[in-house]
Symmetry: C2
Subunit: 210 residues, 2 copies
């Protein structure tokens, strides 16, 4: 991305306050989107004045950009791990579970990403067409190999990956709807376990009775 030529050399306070701001901004951006969020909102959530915040990040966009860069690093980690070693079905089950855990533990990151994509990915399109596509194509080949070897049913590996993303991230991005439909009876822990069990069944066995 940006060349790390200029070393940032930050003070203790700068490091702490920047973290505070990013934490607050993640809250705000992930629920209101970039344009829907104001610097004032973020500043208030971070417990400081707007000019103070602007001392640490010169522009609103800088905050969003920093957040986005961090997000992408961690976001693709599960897919990178996803490897050829071990039993294919176990590997897939593990990937689904890790993605679901991320939706549970980092819902704001998921929503930040969803917002960006919904708006046409204006800031990360190059990354989607480059790094992401490359990674997905690579993993799709791994899956294709499994299919050729008869280890998993032959079908489209790209759409398989999409469907894993869709089903797991749904629990972060559409959390509001999921909660509203399920009602308050079942706490978030129970919801997570139910979802994990269901998705495992869906991806491994499908719905046709055996």
């Amino acid at each position: 991305m940006t060349s790390p030529a200029a070393a940032p050399k930050r003070t203790r306070i700068q490091r702490e306050k920047r973290e505070l701001i990013l934490e607050a901004a993640l809250d705000i951006f992930s629920t209101h989107g970039f344009r829907g969020s104001t610097i004032d909102q973020i500043a208030e959530a971070a417990g400081m004045s707007k000019p103070n915040l602007l001392y640490y990040f010169r522009r609103k966009e800088d905050i969003h950009e920093t957040l986005m860069q961090r997000l992408l690093d961690t976001w693709l980690a599960p897919l990178r791990e996803f490897d050829n070693v071990g039993d294919p079905l176990t590997e897939l089950r593990g990937y689904i579970r890790r993605k679901l855990e991320m939706a549970r533990d980092y819902p704001r990151e998921s929503r930040l990403f969803a917002n960006e994509i919904l708006q046409g990915a204006p800031r990360i399109m190059p990354m989607l067409e480059g790094e992401l596509k490359q990674l997905v194509d690579e993993k799709a080949q791994v899956i294709k190999g499994w299919m050729r070897d008869g280890k998993i049913a032959p079908t489209d590996p790209w759409h398989l990956i999409f469907s894993i993303w869709a089903t797991t991230q749904h629990y972060a991005d559409f959390d509001t709807q999921v909660r509203a439909v399920l009602g308050p009876d079942r706490g978030s822990e129970g919801r997570f376990e139910d979802a994990a069990r269901f998705l495992e069944h869906l991806f491994l066995e499908g719905l046709r009775p055996r």
Copy 2:
């Protein structure tokens, strides 16, 4: 919702221009969200001046509300249709296909809805907890019946419905990402058919080889 006590009695021009505005607003709102969209943007997209637009809709929120009401009517239609008659697996396959067709034919509506949910559903929460929950609970019972009868594998009907929503709407909401990853080789028609074939396989057979 709001009592239709006051008959709207609109002129021809009002009917036409309101449609024009709603059409333009759907474009804008679905990609920028409510707060991220401006009246000016919508007015320009509709080919008229801001004050002129405000002659037809007094407030920005009125446009969004009208759009939302229409959306919800058509959005749940496939789930309403989804009935007890006929073979369960056929019924499910039909529902998935209809939802996927909606994602293909009405992606803006899907994104409008996604935006609303992402932001915590501030304007439609009552509908989610009322009408939607009721409908889903009802259909979940139908599915449960099928499971009891051994017509489909026993699993969680609520999460089954979520997973159908997630996988199908993904092709509208994350279209940008899907296109970026698949590349330009395969046109939208091909993408749709691939997705339909894959989802049918996933939901009916799962991935374990037989």
